[in-house]
């Protein structure tokens, strides 16, 4: 309906393959970015940052990472929580060992460390496929959590095994620790989320992305046309784990501030992120964001409606919330198994065809 595509033509392959080939989409994207960077930071408060925006952005990064692995490369993983923990503990160790270096660099390094760990746990994917692989990645999940719980070196021998983020600043602003303002938290996560989404988009549209998708769609054919399954799968694990590691690092250092492996990065995280990816849409960057938004917002929304709005007892509300979320997930999968991204695509198609039905 709103699309005016006539005259929006491409004279180079560069233009033709850009992320938002339609001018209106491009404008929408820039507008969203402008709001995200210029408007939201001005109005955000602790509640919105901590309950909605920061978790949303961090989960979006994790979902992006998992989507690269599962949605693009077709390797189902339930080890997300464990990999997030790697990112978190790596940041903790790095930032306490090298306090002179910016924590932002530590976060990126943590991503790199997670990538290495991810590759290690990705090795079985060369032999194991499908659900077997999904279950196998649980080994990573349980082992990593156990490791971080058991080896005191990881938590600097603190009495309780908790890790607490040291306070760090960037450009004179606190970005970790309790004194961090809502705006700073939000902006740090936003920069990472936008930057990584951009990287994800770049990777998935080029050579690597095609190798991943080829492996996903038909691994044998992919190999016969010259894709080395070893490198393709392992790069997917590496890149995916990098993203998830960064998400874990941010989750710990910017969002929670303190964490304990089994509590913050348990198996539920793995499922949650997988859900985001599926509800959002496998193989879609937008879907990763949409899925994260959906599953971060929905419980908050339901809780506020049921408890805040209708005044139900919290436990009943929580149980009913569980039922609603579960039912909604099933409903969603029935209505649109390809997720919110597909829904969005269809809507866009409809709008582009408007007023025609097809």
């Amino acid at each position: 309906m709103f699309y005016r595509e006539a005259g929006d033509f491409k004279t180079s392959y560069r233009d033709d393959s850009q992320t938002f080939p339609l001018k209106l989409d491009r404008m929408g994207y820039y507008a969203a970015l402008a709001v995200a960077f210029l408007v939201v930071p001005l109005v955000i408060n602790d509640y919105w940052a901590n309950s909605v925006f920061v978790p949303f952005l961090i989960y979006a990064i994790a979902a992006l990472g998992l989507n690269i692995l599962t949605g693009y490369a077709g390797q189902v993983s339930l080890g997300t929580g464990g990999f997030m923990a790697v990112g978190a503990y790596a940041t903790y160790k790095l930032s306490t060992s090298f306090p002179g270096i910016s924590v932002l660099i530590h976060i990126l390094l943590a991503g790199g460390i997670t990538a290495v760990v991810g590759v290690l746990f990705g090795l079985p994917s060369l032999r194991i496929k499908g659900f077997y692989l999904a279950v196998a990645t649980l080994a990573a999940q349980f082992f990593l959590i156990w490791l971080f719980n058991k080896v005191p070196w990881f938590y600097n021998y603190s009495a309780s095994g908790q890790i607490t983020v040291p306070e760090r600043t960037f450009l004179g602003q606190f970005i970790t620790g309790p004194q961090t303002s809502a705006t700073a938290k939000y902006l740090v996560c936003l920069v990472f989320a936008v930057g990584l989404a951009w990287v994800a988009r770049n990777l998935t549209r080029g050579t690597v992305g095609r190798k991943w998708m080829a492996i996903r769609d038909m691994d044998i054919a992919a190999e016969i046309i010259g894709v080395n399954p070893l490198t393709a799968k392992l790069t997917a694990f590496a890149v995916s784990s990098f993203f998830i590691g960064v998400a874990g690092a941010l989750f710990f250092s910017v969002y929670l501030g303190a964490a304990e492996a089994s509590e913050a990065f348990g198996i539920n995280k793995s499922f949650l992120v997988l859900f985001m990816v599926i509800i959002g849409g496998l193989g879609s960057i937008f879907g990763s964001f949409a899925g994260a938004a959906f599953l971060v917002l929905l419980p908050v929304f339901l809780k506020n409606v049921l408890v805040g709005g209708m005044g139900w007892p919290t436990d009943l509300a929580a149980h009913i919330e569980l039922m609603i979320v579960g039912a909604l997930i099933v409903f969603f999968l029935i209505v649109e198994p390809h997720g919110l991204a597909q829904l969005w695509r269809l809507t866009k198609e409809k709008l582009r065809l408007w007023p025609f039905p097809h």
Partner: protein, 327 residues
Amino acid sequence: MEQLLYASEVVVNGLMAGVMYSLVALGFVLIYKASGVFNYAQGVMALFAALTLVGIQQGQVPFAHLINAAFGTHLETFGWTVPSVLAILLTAAVMVGLAILIEKLVLKHLVGQEPIILFMATIGLAWFLEGLGDVMWGANVKSLDVGIPQGLSETVESATFALTGYGFFIDRLDIWAAVVAVLLVAALVAFSQYTKQGRAMRAVADDHQAALSVGISLRFIWIMVWSIAGFVALVAGIMWGTKSGVQFSLSLIALKALPVLMLGGFTSIPGAIVGGLIIGMGEKLFEYFIGPMVGGATENWFAYVLALVFLVFRPQGLFGEKIIERV
């Protein structure tokens, strides 16, 4: 010598624990085999079955909490208790009803979807059932007693003591579980071999299209399989509920069944049993011998690592069907 005896005791106990895992894994296998659905909700079904069983036994008013909250009433129980056998039968009926609902509301609409979508749907189902169970019967810990004895089996202890000079510990519940598991598997085998429905079920498992073309109603088979899986869940729920009370954590036993499945193969009933035994034995041995060196609590991950190592050599699981690659 003493170490060896301890080790054998660990092995025996591990095997027994493995049987408990197998009970859960069985439900997975049944459903996966017949409908290709990886049913993550199996654990929650066990919880739901156990909750329902206790609720019926103790004459709880279902949804009491919800009704009280909505109407300001103070309902608790009907004030009667139901004998165990009757309660079990009633619960089985509830599970059949549940299977029908699941087929009608979920599976029917997801025919032909990718496996991962079906898997996700069962997680959604798990969340729903978890919420439903709590809303129906309340979230407090309930003890389940259908007359299965618990605790050290003196017979075994004295027998082994006489034999080796060291009395083995075996939980009577575990012995019961083993017996029940054997009966269950025998019944399942008998059912699938000697009944018309069972043969249809196997036909569907072998080839959906072929089964359809000879006039087997897929929907009926699915309902049947889910009902059987519901019954298996009930059995698992009874065993685990007796062991550690009926409560939320019961649903997490699904996680203990997953490595068993990996190891045994998703499609094999003997695989579920043998896988359970190997996992149970393996994790107990590891925890016993290596655990203390690395700080213990290794069982959760070791089970998976063990299964993983097996898989690397046999990607389709111990008893899974061989994957043949073609172009």
